[in-house]
Structures are given as C-alpha cells and as structure tokens.
C-alpha cells in the first residue's frame, strides 16, 4: 500500500500518526481514504469546494502533485506521499 507522511503540525488531527498506509489508485482516492480515517484533517487540507487549499502541498516522491496531474495523479503500490506544511517559525507563544 502507498504511504503518506503527515507533518508534525497536522499530527494532532491524525491521532499523532507520523506516517500512515493509505488506499487508492489516485491522489484523490488516497486523500479520501485518509480523510475517512481522520475527518479532523479535512478543513486543513480542503476548501469548501473539495479542492486542495493553496497552502497545502502534497508531494508524490519528490514531485508536487500540482506539477503532475493534481488529484488525478496515479499512485502506485509502493509510492510515498508527503504533505508539506507552510510553517512560519511559529514562536507565537
């Protein structure tokens, strides 16, 4: 199964998991399977229209899925995906 790496800032919405196995043949299906398991992640990844938010970057291997076929990008059995968050330094507190 493909794996998806969850960045530290989003782990709080994903049961503190750093990496999960996901199901699906496309990026969209993989994300659906992830959201089904961790619904609290959804508002952090998608806008109201179900599109990836502009500050969310999902990489398949070394490539941003935006530079591939976006949500339609095919995902293979052994592929590794990772979400890359926008972090500012964040020492607000």
């Amino acid at each position: 199964m493909p794996t998806l790496k969850i960045p530290t800032p989003l782990r709080v919405y994903a049961d503190d998991q750093s990496e999960i196995s996901v199901q699906g043949d496309t990026v969209a299906q993989v994300l659906d399977s992830m959201i089904a398991r961790y619904p609290a992640l959804s508002p952090h990844l998608f806008n109201g229209q179900g599109e990836l938010r502009p500050f969310v970057n999902l990489f398949l291997g070394e490539e941003n899925v935006r530079d591939l076929d976006g949500l339609d990008t095919p995902v293979g059995e052994h592929d590794r995906l990772r979400l890359i968050p926008s972090i500012a330094g964040g020492l607000f507190e």
Partner: protein
Amino acid sequence: MTDLPALSHSEILRYSRHLLIPEVGLEGQKKLKAASILVIGTGGLGSPVDLYLAAAGVGRIGLVDYDVVDFSNLQRQVIHGTSGLNTLKVESARKRMLDLNPDIEVEIYNEPFTSENAMRIAQDYDILIDGTDNFPTRYLVNDVCVLLGKPNVYGSIFRFDGQASVFDATRGPCYRCLFPEPPPPGLVPSCAEGGVLGVLPGTIGTIQATEALKLILDVGEPLIGRLMLYNALDMSFDYVKLRKNPNCKICGPNPEVTELIDYEAFCGVPGHDHEVGAVGGGWDIEAGELAERLQENNVVLLDVREPHELQISHLEGAKLIPLGQLAARLSELNSADEMVVFCKSGTRSARALELLISAGFRKVKNLKGGINAWAKEVDSTLPIY
C-alpha cells in the same frame, strides 16, 4: 575580478583554513570580503547565521530586528547572552559578531522590516536571509527579493521539523510558487502548539549560512529548486523538487504583484507590534478583573493548552480541552455558562474564543496575556514560562 579587496596578513592568518580549500582559496575569501548579506531576524535562525557569516569573513552584514533580548530567548538564540538581557537584539548581536571578527562591518536596523522600509534597506545587499518567525514578514522578504532580483535564503522551523531552500526567482521558483497563499490564521496549528527544540534553529540556520556562502563563492549545488526537509527526531534529511509556478502572482510571466503590498492584511495576522494575547472588541478580561469575578460569580475556566503544560502551571478547577480538540468537544460546554478561556499567553485562547463565538457562545471572555499574566499579576507562586 580585479576589483576584489585585498586581504591583510592578519586576515590571511584568520581565514587560513578557508584559503586551504581550493573551492574557497584566496579569491573566494576576497569574494566573501566583498559580499554583503542582510539577515532579517536576530533570533533562533539569525543567531547561527550571524555568527557563521561573521566568522567566515562576509564583509558587510546587515541585521534587522526591533526586539530586545528576552530571558526565554536564550534557550536557542545563542548569539545573545545573559549579560545582554533587555538590550536591543541587533546591538547584542553586533557586539558578539565584532568580537568574533572585528574585520567585518555590521550594520544594524533597529526597526521592523516593513513594506515602507524594506526596499530601501535591502537594495544595498547581495543576498537576503529569512530568519523571521511570521508569515507576513516571510512574504515580504520573498517579494522584496523577487522585485530586486536577489536570492532569498529561506529557513523555517517548527518543534522538531525544519525546512530550508534558496528562492531565487531569476533562476528558479520563489516562496510564493510553493506557498501562493498563507494559511488562514485559524488553521495555523503552529500557533496552537508553539515550542521548538532549541538546537533546531541551529541546524537550519547553519544550513542557511552554508547556502549563502555557496552563493557568494559560486560553488556546489545551491538549494535552488529544492526544498530540504529536516526532522530532528528521525534525524532525516529529505528533499523535494520545487518548480516555478507559471501562475505565480509575483514571479510568473503575468505578475499581479508588482510592488510591495500590505502583508499583514494579506496574511490576516499581525507581523509585528501587535498586542499579544488579546482578542480585542471587549472580548478580553484582565487577570486582576478575573480574580475579582471568580470571588463573586460562578465562572467556568476553560484551559485550551496541551496536557503537558499543566505540569508547569495550572488554575484550580479549570476544565482542560486542548485547542486542537475544541471543535470536536463543544458539546462538553454549556453556552449559558459564563466562561473565561485561557492558555499560556493568550494567543491560543484568542483562537478558541473565535471558535466559540462562531459556535454561538456569547458569555465568553479571553484571559488577556494568559496564565502567565495571572502568574504575574495575581498569583506569584506560579512560574511564568
């Protein structure tokens, strides 16, 4: 390059370990002496950047920061010392850098980096290094670099994670190509979580300094078009490819952004000089007033910090719901109750209040300045952290 500055005998001795490397050599060391770098931020990232650039002999280094050295900075901001507490960060850093290397020039700008002063300050430097801690200033640094055609050596940190890249729109993508928009304030978990391993900015800042030196020396493969991802717990360094976004609003072929904008409005958060830990609009309560209210009324205290923070300080009888769980646990709260929400210093509780208000809660207040303000003004037996 005939116009490079000469090195004195003392400089030749000082930099002898550089001169022995063929990739630097006498010519490279002269390039470093002729170079100028502007470092935005003199904090966790800026500390190692400033120290290593000074030690390496970068001829002119500019420092922008408007803050003073705080006790809680010293856990990671190693350019400052206990003797420099409450002094200006740029002064404290300059003193240390000139002690390390009196042969360089350090120019200081004791002011926030803003749309009004950024172009004026940045135009005289070859390279900018982004050592800031907030989105508005990061977008500002990026846009200044794109508009002036200068490289932006980027680094960012969160807890155990770090990112680094070189954004040079003349040769590759810019920060906006990767992050066209900042996350809306309510969706920034970094604010809710806070905290950073002290050595982490040391790792990332040192990488930024390395990249800046490589750019000056024109050696190796810069992080242009690559984002480095570091995790200290896994001790992993990963890389992903970054490509120029053809729709980028500032470095694309049809830019919408052709001059600096209002970055605080763009990001929906204050970049600097904001009142920390307050909501405004009558939604805040001072620690002293809360102490009085607690004696008279039945006020529900809601603590939105993380469980491990209770070991540092806590308020008796407070209900704990970490901010990240609040949306899912609203049913545990009664909107008829008078409620005061607090966290460490008021930032997370301000977010919690926005969430509660949007869910229909009206009898809620934010403890301004958080439990730290309570410790300072009401109960000195509690530590401030």
